[in-house]
Amino acid sequence: MSEQTLFKVTVDNITIEVPAGTTILQAARQIGGAVAPPAMCYYSKLQGSGGKCRTCLVEVSKGSEKDPRPMPKLVASCRTTVMDGMEVKNITSEKVVDARAGIVEFLLLNHPLDCPICDQAGECHLQDLSFEHGKSSTRYEFQRRTFKKHDLGKHIQLHMTRCILCYRCVFTADQLTNKRAHGILDRGDHAEIATHIEKSLDNEFIGNVIDVCPVGALTDKTFRFKNRVWFLKPMDAHRDCPTCSGRVTLWNRGDEVYRVTARKDEWGEIEDTPDGKPGWICNTCRFDKKQTTDWVVEGPREISRHSVIAQGHYAGNIGTTKPTETFAAINDGRSPHLLMDIHSESEVNQPNLHLGENEGPSNGVTFNNNIKNA
């Protein structure tokens, strides 16, 4: 380890040293924050992934110390390795910001925008991407494409219209299972994920395609329409599983386990287990162990406080602090202009109540009761 060659790379004016062979994206992720380019198709745990979605394009303004010429085109940071002395512009490059907004528009072009009925909403990378890098409206005025529906069996729900063709699920099936049964059929703007003949995906590890899917194209059928992810409390838990690591995140509401997923890191990727291997989980853990008694619960899972999933969940109990500044304080003394003060209209949205303490679905009538019982 100590003998490893280190390369200096600068991303958005922040310089770090990384081992030779590191990609620009991985180097930027080490710096973290907004410096890390978004990635919709790249998945570090899947060999061969990346390069396709083009959201991670960056500008290389200096190739290396030896050859300082800039690269003529924007490059996919997930598949370009750093050189010593390389200088990269991500959000500091107008070209990148412009191109990325274009990519977001392309990705959303045929996307149904059915977030209100999509199980992925709240943890969807395409939502995050559009929010952070997209424009507020589309210039597309034609009919969005549709596909013939395919049934992938009792565990996995396929919504092809939401797919962005990242190929992650294909790599997952190739690398985690011994027989890939689904793939990319047809080509161009008609390319789709399918099995060709109706066939259920049954391999013991195939459920991981749900976790790698960046959008709502592949979702958990056992969780379908059951709840919104932001109403659930993610809890780390484990069990002694003969097939997989058994290290999961339970998504609970009260004592009820609504769904089970693998544990994901801040980039939305499967976390490694302590032995350094990716923590893929088996179908039994994912689909069949829905009782809290099946699991040893370790505690609440830390979720970025910017995520919608974190809303109201953990104030006070996992070390997050509530912002102390008032809106007026950070806004030069101006109070926000409100169309309507919802707190005076409804009892549901009481700022002094934590929604996370609410046990189960409630309306304005049952809300106070539920809170009191909690």
Binding site: R180, H182, G183, I184, L185, D186, R187, H196, I197
Partner: protein, 167 residues
């Protein structure tokens, strides 16, 4: 499996596979799919594709992925003679639209359809690399070039005769 190559087709299959190094037999997939399509009625049924996957020792999905990618593989039944008329730039400049309309009138079918007698299918395709001999179409292995209405008439009559002679 009911569907199989006959001896002659099997010999051709072996010749195709032998072009590639040991263990790289998947490389023969495109040529073998051509062979299967020619051998089993001009289009690729799921059964035919599964048979190819067994022969090449690959997963069926690998065959489906490839068969659906390339435009020359027919995944639906087609007529005995498929008129693949080029509609790209240079052919369009040289009047391919008139030819396409004329063929539709003569055969009474729209692009993508097959005549009721099962003899002709009309397909619109993109550039076939015969731009200097436009307008043109491909029928089986043959290019029919410098098309005019008269030529189209003659071609249709020729194929009708061929079918009649066989019956």
């Amino acid at each position: 499996m009911s569907l199989q190559f006959n001896n002659e087709q099997m010999t051709e299959f072996k010749r195709l596979v032998a072009r590639y190094p040991e263990g790289k037999q998947k490389s023969a997939l495109l040529p073998v799919l051509h062979l299967a399509q020619d051998s089993f009625g001009g289009w690729l049924t799921t059964e035919a594709m599964d048979y190819v996957s067994v022969l090449l020792n690959i997963e069926p999905i690998e065959v489906y992925e490839v068969a659906t990618f390339y435009s020359m593989y027919n995944l639906k039944p087609v007529g005995k003679f498929v008129f693949e008329v080029c509609q790209t730039g240079p052919c369009m400049i040289s009047g391919s639209e008139n030819i396409i309309t004329y063929i539709q009138q003569q055969l009474g079918i729209k692009p993508g359809e097959t005549t009721q007698d099962g003899i002709f299918t009309l397909k619109l395709v993109e550039c076939l690399g015969a731009c200097g001999y436009a307008p043109m179409m491909q029928v089986g292995k043959i290019y029919r070039e410098h098309l005019t209405k008269e030529k189209v008439d003659a071609i249709i009559a020729e194929y009708r005769m061929q079918v009649a002679a066989k019956n």
